[in-house]
């Protein structure tokens, strides 16, 4: 019964004392990176708009994006997009009904993270 006094015991889900499994962290990170990249998407559109408008407007947008603050945003955006990219592929594979189960989910998680790191390294090399 829901209204019984349960005392001061912690109630399920015990998210504060529970060690998050890798896949739980990756699941919420997928959402955080997805929502966070709204900002990246808007900045990139702003950069294109500036490039299409005039040299001086481009200098403003380019100046912001190449400043230390812009660099931090772009670097985090890059990590976010490659993370969301590889994790999204995991989701698409799951949508076919395959690769479930604790060990497989853990293994694809580690693989996805590794590929995201490699793609990030390639991107940094190109940039």
């Amino acid at each position: 019964m829901a209204d019984v006094n349960r005392g001061n015991r912690p109630l399920s889900p015990h998210t504060t004392i529970y060690r998050w499994p890798l896949n739980a962290i990756m699941s919420i990170l997928h959402r955080i990176t997805g929502v966070g990249m709204s900002v990246s998407a808007m900045l990139i559109v702003w950069w294109f708009l500036a490039a299409s408008t005039s040299q001086s407007y481009f200098a403003t947008a380019n100046g912001f994006l190449t400043s230390w603050f812009g660099d931090i945003i772009l670097f985090l955006s890059m990590l976010a997009i490659w993370y969301h990219f590889t994790n999204g592929i995991r989701h698409l594979i799951w949508d076919t009904g395959s690769n479930f189960g604790k060990r497989r989910v853990y293994r694809s998680g580690i693989t996805g993270l590794a590929i995201a790191v490699i793609l990030s390294a390639i991107t940094v090399y190109i940039a």
Binding site: R31, G34, V35, M37, S38, A41, M42, I44, V45, W47, F48, L49, A51, S52, T53, Q55, F58, A59, N62, L65, T66, L74, M78, I81, F85, G88, I89, H91, L92, D95, L119, I122, T123, V124, I126, A127
Partner: protein, 125 residues
């Protein structure tokens, strides 16, 4: 006169009344982005921070311009689809409706702006 029974008209549509179409469209945009993301992000990483002339030359090239426009259309669609799911999960009531409509209008506006800007560069105006 309807030749379908009322029952067959609603089967599979569920409480949302659109069935699995939102889920399906989100997967399709995700598959498109698996292809488009590397094609857009790697050249973008190369061009970001370059000079005005070089950036305009890069996106004046038809292949870059077409990929960029395809990416922008798909990414803002996928972004809205994702934001809608997140909003529906965590926000309820009037604010939920306001946020979903705001997200949809903003995504449309930014997509339109991006397409306009790239077309303007590519068509040399």
């Amino acid at each position: 006169m309807r030749y379908q029974t009322d029952r067959s008209r609603v089967t599979g549509l569920g409480a949302a009344k659109t069935g699995t179409s939102h889920f399906w469209e989100q997967r399709v945009s995700a598959i498109a982005l698996v292809i488009l993301t590397p094609l857009f992000v790697l050249p973008l990483a190369y061009n970001l921070g370059d000079s005005y002339e070089n950036v305009r030359a890069a996106y004046g090239h038809p292949i870059n311009a077409i990929i960029a426009i395809a990416f922008i259309i798909t990414v803002f669609l996928h972004l809205f689809q994702g934001l809608q799911v997140v909003i529906e999960d965590y926000v309820h009531g009037r604010l939920e409706l306001i946020l979903i409509i705001t997200a949809r209008l903003s995504c449309s506006l930014f997509a339109l702006t991006g397409i306009f800007a790239i077309l303007k560069i590519a068509l040399g105006a």
